[in-house]
Symmetry: C2
Subunit: 246 residues, 2 copies
């Protein structure tokens, strides 16, 4: 009962070349004449309901996924039940790169809301990126960017205190919403306090308290999942100048 929807012949035309996520996604920076060659890369679309997995740890790796609508979290589970959220992904971002290494996925990708992804067959991607230099390079950039992002999270987890972590998280979300044409100051978080906590290496109560503290200090206005950033400079200061610990 996979909800994979094959793309019809008509749809196949201009799948990527007409997508408005172009600048955020895999084809970014590619020459126009190459762009249309990408269109047959996306073999299918797939809709994922909120809370449902796009793939799970141990699933056979066959494709990577570009998020068309919605958002996801990726997490790793330990045998004893502990969960570590390794990332939150938004439209245009690529999921599934973890699977290349062993041909099996090494994390779970769960939809945070009803979402849709483009299914990019990995063998076809390899094939096509041997022919199209721009695609190859862009794909490498996407992987490298993920590595750099991960190093940032390590810095966060290894060297920052609770409030710094949350400030960095909020600024990162704001920046990514901006890149998608949304407001930098006001947005809606799709994940729970517990998921934020897991991502930041904190308990949900600590996340909640930090939110309240930010609100008291006039840095943000928080109403459950709705966030309004009032003083982004203040948040930035918090990160740089709150040294000394750890």
């Amino acid at each position: 009962m996979k909800s994979t929807v094959p793309v019809t012949a008509a749809d196949l035309k201009r799948v990527c070349s007409q997508c408005n996520l172009l600048e955020l996604c895999l084809p970014f920076g590619m020459a126009d004449q190459d762009l249309h060659r990408l269109d047959d890369l996306v073999a299918a679309r797939r809709k994922i309901k909120r809370q449902q997995p796009l793939y799970r740890t141990g699933d056979l790796f066959e494709a990577i996924y570009a998020i068309r609508t919605g958002s996801f979290k990726t997490d790793v589970l330990l045998e004893d039940g502990r969960e570590q959220v390794t990332g939150f992904q938004m439209t245009g971002e690529i999921l599934g790169l973890d699977g290349i290494s062993t041909e099996l996925h090494s994390c779970n990708a769960i939809a945070l809301e009803d979402s849709e992804v483009c299914v990019i067959s990995y063998p076809r991607l390899e094939e096509l990126s041997r022919l199209v230099e721009g695609l190859q390079h862009q794909f490498h950039k996407v992987m490298s960017r993920e590595i750099v992002r991960d190093h940032g999270v390590m810095m966060l987890l290894g060297s920052m205190r609770a409030e710094e972590r949350l400030a960095a998280f909020l600024l990162n979300m704001s920046q990514r919403f901006t890149a998608r044409g949304f407001s930098a100051a006001e947005f809606h978080l799709r994940m729970t306090r517990e998921e934020i906590g897991s991502y930041l290496g904190l308990k949900l109560e600590t996340v909640s308290r930090a939110f309240s503290r930010f609100q008291d200090e006039g840095l943000v206005a928080v109403q459950q999942k709705h966030i309004r950033i009032l003083d982004s400079g203040g948040l930035k200061n918090l990160i740089q100048h709150q040294a000394g610990l750890r």
Copy 2:
């Protein structure tokens, strides 16, 4: 005053195909007939003295590096002086993948001992991996493996307590020494307590105390940087069954 040594025409033959690190390095799993085509990929070798950088944050990205001898750490520095070690690299492992993303390196790579690397020109690697399918695939695997490794570190930093982190670190080192034909039980760490601490998100005193505790419990014999693992099962148990926290 770069200590880059160009490889002579004679040396160029069989650079990779005769290297004994083959199974650990980039060319792993490639067909024999393709292997010799790799040999002109390594344009040069470079020797790095202990404590010296192979590259620094902000350096222009031109090449990736395969470690021939020695070992490295990579780290990210914050403006206020905080350091986060993002990884320790051993022979056969690849350095520099962070640079592809922005054409600039986003971390420092510092030699932990006098070391030597193979300089792999990135433009040439892209070119050749368009021609040699096996090389392309192996390169993707190397990048994916780095992503998976990073997720493991996030789990460590986000969900484990001090002793669990150190146990996981020791087991990981042991496993990597084993893969290189060294003893799984006895090895010499090239990094300081402070560097281990930075990697694990702990202060050096905490690392030292955890080592002492492991020693008291008969799990390892510690003599400064010389480590002998006495009870690897005990270390593994520590990780899985010490749940409950965080």
